[in-house]
């Protein structure tokens, strides 16, 4: 007599023992039925992040992280490598889209109150991920080593240098010396392709796990209160799969369109002797840039630091009772005003001309 499953290969039996048809079905039903398993913004963030990793890996094949080779290798990617310009443009635009998405994601959580007890750590890890994404976008911007990138590295590291006590030490460590040059580019490259992605992975996984933990916890609490039928909660929602697929294609089309319509051109080669006219940082640093132009690096650092501390510590600032809606509204209004002022500084930085 043939043993049960005898017709299957050993690999097939091994897989069948672990992933039975019913368990996979259950997993899919559970995933597709979770209404808030992953928000639309969170999902899009993940999609763009994966695209960035894949695009970045392709760019790594040609990029040379040296002062002599960086600018030429990016130029060669644009002009000589088949499809290289598209991969580079999509990677450059993907970074901008990521910054927009993480901002939308955090602002949405802010106004939905997703930082309130017991979700403080969900919020804090979200803020840390946002910070790492900003640094990732900034270090990537520097790697092309054209004039904007070079001066971006000079000003960024000088801003750190002006911070009290440990600023000069950190600045020298990041620059790899007193001046921005070969060692600086190497450090930015290592940060962009290794250190920051690792931090992003740890932060992102921590955020996802914490967020999922409180979703499950919240659902079981809800079950206890007004127990919906299991069939209702776990109803398969295949239409969600179409939405996810649609989101993926929407992002892909958006990046290809942006790459074609507004290509991010490579500027002139970096020249330590000459700063180009009306040079501006990437848009997400425009508020800090405007503060630096109109006040002093100290004031810019203190105000940026305050906004950062307020953002991370927000769950401990807004601890009003659920019932006290007036107090909560006032604090959310404060957050809204800070956001509007910050955005206003960015707009002012964009339209300003420091040479006038």
């Amino acid at each position: 007599m043939e043993p049960e499953g005898g017709r299957k290969s050993r690999v097939g039996r091994w897989l069948a023992e672990r992933f039975s048809h019913s368990s996979v079905r259950e997993f899919l039903c559970h995933t597709l039925s979770m209404r808030r398993s992953l928000s639309a913004t969170g999902y899009l963030l993940l999609v763009v992040l994966v695209m960035q990793v894949l695009g970045g890996a392709l760019l790594l094949v040609y990029y040379k992280p040296t002062v002599a080779g960086a600018y030429e290798s990016v130029g060669a990617l644009n002009a000589e490598v088949s499809g290289g310009w598209l991969v580079r443009q999509m990677h450059a635009w993907g970074a901008q889209v990521l910054v927009v998405l993480i901002m939308v994601y955090q602002v949405r959580d802010l106004f939905l109150g997703h930082y309130r007890k017991p979700r403080e750590l969900v919020w804090i890890t979200g803020c840390l991920v946002a910070g790492v994404l900003l640094l990732e976008a900034y270090t990537g911007f520097v790697l092309r080593w054209d004039d904007r990138a070079y001066w971006g590295a000079v000003i960024g590291t000088e801003f750190v240098h002006k911070l009290p006590w440990i600023g000069p030490w950190i600045s020298q460590m990041v620059r790899g010396g007193l001046h921005v040059g070969e060692a600086t580019l190497g450090r930015f490259f290592a940060a962009h392709v290794a250190f920051l992605p690792m931090m992003l992975l740890v932060g992102g996984v921590a955020h996802g796990l914490l967020s999922g933990y409180w979703q499950v916890n919240g659902r079981s609490e809800q079950r206890g209160r007004d127990a919906p039928e299991d069939g209702v909660v776990n109803r398969p929602r295949p239409e969600r799969a179409f939405l996810l697929l649609g989101g993926f294609y929407a992002v892909l089309i958006l990046l290809v369109l942006l790459a074609h319509v507004w290509p991010q051109t490579l500027g002139p080669r970096a020249d330590p002797m000459g700063v180009p006219e009306n040079i501006k940082p990437p848009w997400y640093f425009l508020p800090v840039y405007h503060l630096m132009s109109t006040t002093s690096p100290w004031i810019a650092a203190v105000l940026s630091g305050l906004v950062l501390v307020l953002a991370i510590g927000w769950p401990f600032v807004e601890r009003t009772d659920e019932s006290n809606t007036t107090a909560r509204r006032r604090l959310l209004l404060l957050a809204f005003v800070v956001l509007v002022i910050w955005a206003g500084l960015g707009v002012a930085g964009y339209v300003s001309n420091p040479l006038r």
Binding site: E158, F159, H179, G181, G274, E277
Partner: protein
Amino acid sequence: MVDAEGRPIRMDEVAEGEVRMGYLGEDVVLIMREGTAFRAWSAVCTHMACTVRWLAGERQFACHCHGARFNEKGDVARGPATAPLQRMGVRVRDGKFYGA
């Protein structure tokens, strides 16, 4: 002191009242002739470390990053910089400039 191509800058190439920019080691330096004497500054803006440019028409050094201006003595003419350009010591030997 050498120019961007690494060619030594000679003192007879710097005309009266004119400013030349060059490298002294890794430092970017500005040098101005005043009669038989020369005055030199670091070209690094004291605000956020960008390199300043000489605007001959306005007789000022301008920083294109954040808009600071310095007069021909290197003092602040307009913010956001608050400190003057750093003076550099140079000496002339065989018609060429060297760090002091």
